[in-house]
């Protein structure tokens, strides 16, 4: 009995649509010193860059190292450099990025390479801590629940959605030029806490983000906002942080 569902179609056209000519995929292999190795990977409809990397590891070379977890754009673990741009590989269809049948995949830039496509994100998280990205409580559980002004909360609506995937850090020119620069994600995090009325660590935090490599090192190139897979605006957070830090300095608070 043949299906009458309008979307089902026949088997032959579906197979033709899903299986097309293989693409040539250059993948970074090795640590800091290494080279690109090229693989031929068969393509399918709706195939993501993460699918391509997974195919290489499962079928062509099981020694390939890479990092992923959720596969659906929630965790931010699978960020890599795809054709020169940092991206979440799980949310990037190859149809959007393949150029002349070729794809180049490398680990995230601005971080040391552990092996193959796995970047060492320690420095990224260390800077997050250096920017005082931790909440510093001002009350105890015995105190009444803090009343938060809606305007202070909505000011950071976008900024609090950051999941620390490191794409902005890899895309940032200022990070590449100045290894002490804290980077967009850490400063964006600091900006969310600066706006948190319950936080008691702002003098220390504003001092941290005004020291060498702090928010004043941002060139406002907006690469972070341009590349952020969650469409956040770290550049805006940093600009606001600059203003707040200057105010605090002129008032003698830091």
């Amino acid at each position: 009995m043949t299906s009458t569902h309008p979307g089902s179609g026949g088997d032959a056209p579906r197979a033709a649509a899903q299986q097309t000519a293989p693409i040539e995929v250059s993948v970074w292999r090795g640590g800091e010193r290494g080279s690109y190795v090229t693989y031929a990977v068969p393509t399918q409809a709706s195939q993501t860059v993460l699918d391509v990397v997974t195919y290489i590891q499962r079928v062509l070379d099981p020694t390939l190292s890479y990092r992923f977890a959720c596969r659906v754009g929630v965790c931010g673990s699978c960020a890599m450099t795809v054709n020169g741009r940092p991206r979440w590989t799980c949310r990037t269809h190859i149809s959007k990025v393949v150029e002349n049948g070729r794809l180049e995949i490398a680990p995230l830039a601005n971080m040391p390479v552990i092996k193959d496509l796995a970047a060492d994100m320690r420095v990224f998280f260390e800077k997050w801590q250096a920017a005082q990205g931790r909440f510093q409580p001002s009350q105890t559980r015995a105190d009444p629940i803090a009343r938060i002004a809606p305007a202070a909360r909505t000011a950071i609506d976008k900024a609090i959605e950051c999941i620390n995937c490191g794409v902005c850090y890899a895309a940032c020119d200022a990070v590449r030029w100045n290894e002490k620069y804290l980077g967009p994600a850490a400063l964006n995090r600091a900006w969310t806490l600066v706006n948190d009325a319950r936080d008691a660590g702002n003098a220390e935090r504003l001092r941290a983000v005004s020291a060498e490599g702090g928010c004043q090192s941002c060139h406002t190139h907006t690469s972070c906002a341009e590349h952020c897979p969650a469409n956040l605006d770290p550049t805006g957070s940093i600009a606001s942080l600059k203003r707040r830090a200057v105010e605090a300095y002129l008032k003698g608070e830091i």
Binding site: N178, S210, G214, V246
Partner: protein, 110 residues
């Protein structure tokens, strides 16, 4: 808070320099577009406190602005250590002050 001081100083000097540069460009336009000779220019500037103050301030602001800028550029584009970057800032700033004020003196002085 040294970084913050330098950051503010560089932006403050930029803000003050902007209108001064505009006046400077207009002066150049008038001086070159109206056939003024060096002697004509000197006749206007010699002994003029106003021109002396204007270009004296211009030189100092430019020297501070450029000195801090050179330090920032050295941070991002050279492997120089921190002490050498500070040295580059001071040398640039002082050189511009000395050369600039010497030039101001030459057109304003007797």
């Amino acid at each position: 808070m040294r970084e913050m001081r330098l950051y503010l100083l560089q932006r403050a000097t930029a803000a003050l320099l902007a209108p001064l540069i505009l006046v400077h460009l207009v002066v150049i336009y008038i001086a070159t577009g109206h056939g003024l000779t060096a002697a004509d220019v000197l006749a206007r500037t010699r002994g003029s406190l106003a021109w002396g103050a204007f270009y004296g301030l211009f030189v100092v602001l430019a020297a501070v602005h450029a000195g801090i800028g050179v330090r920032a550029i050295a941070r991002e584009w050279t492997p120089l250590p921190a002490a050498a970057r500070d040295m580059a800032m001071w040398v640039t700033g002082l050189l511009l002050v000395v050369l600039g004020l010497r030039a101001v003196l030459a057109v304003v002085g007797p």
